[in-house]
């Protein structure tokens, strides 16, 4: 697709989409949304980039190797946080019993490790969505 209007609008709108996705991920424990919804929004922004500029351009920014690594890293991060809970308190994903700081109610830094877990889920969902789309659209 070689269209000036589509390319210009994509360049303008992608930072706002990604900022909104990061906002949804970081406020996962306070407002609607969370890791899955925010990760889906970030993944959709990269799909828009692929549709406007072609798969080669997106792969020069975010190669298949990087998306694979991020995908695996998100899962390992989740399990790692869960194992911290086991090591300290004996409960998988133990939050308050494992001594994570609770913070003040209603602020962004609160809820112990829930926001850390949400970041891992967001990375995993976003990279899965990107690599899934690239695998489908790729010419063989």
């Amino acid at each position: 697709m070689d269209d000036l209007i589509v390319k210009t609008v994509t360049k303008l709108i992608i930072p706002f989409i990604q900022l909104y996705g990061i906002f949804v991920i970081l406020h996962g424990h306070l407002s609607p949304g969370g890791g899955f919804a925010g990760g889906a929004i970030i993944g959709a922004s990269f799909i828009l980039l692929t549709l406007a500029f072609g798969i080669e351009y997106t792969k020069s920014i975010l190669s298949a190797k990087v998306t694979e690594r991020v995908e695996i890293g998100g899962v390992i991060w989740y399990i790692f946080i869960g194992l911290i809970g086991i090591a300290i308190s004996g409960v998988f994903l133990g939050n308050r019993v494992a001594g994570f700081p609770m913070g003040t109610f209603g602020s962004v830094i609160s809820g112990g490790m829930i926001s850390l877990i949400t970041i891992g889920i967001g990375l995993k969902v976003a990279s899965t969505m990107i690599s899934l789309f690239h695998h489908i659209i790729e010419e063989d």
């Binding site: 949804v24 609607p32 949304g33 969370g34 899955f36 919804a37 889906a40 929004i41 993944g43 959709a44 799909i47 549709l51 969505m129 899934l132 789309f133 489908i136 659209i137």
Partner: protein, 79 residues
């Protein structure tokens, strides 16, 4: 509010039947995207805003793009 709900649900049922009866798969995908959008509004009315957000991003956005990607590799018309 009650009548809005009724109109949305009737539109949802009409969309679901139309998706099944359309022969042109690209039009079926567009109808399916509108189905997802109405479903997202209904989730919002049912007070599940996080599901509504996910439905609007996945159902109306990503699924449509994935289906169009698949159709571009296969046939457009249903036999």
């Amino acid at each position: 509010m009650r009548y809005l709900n009724l109109i949305l649900i009737l539109f949802l049922i009409a969309c679901a039947i139309a998706v099944e009866r359309t022969k042109d798969l690209v039009s079926a995908i567009v109808i399916f995207a509108s189905y997802s959008l109405v479903m997202a509004i209904l989730w919002l009315i049912l007070r599940a805003p996080d599901i509504a957000m996910t439905e609007a991003a996945i159902g109306a956005g990503v699924t449509t793009v994935l289906f169009i990607g698949v159709i571009s590799r296969t046939r457009r018309m249903e036999k």
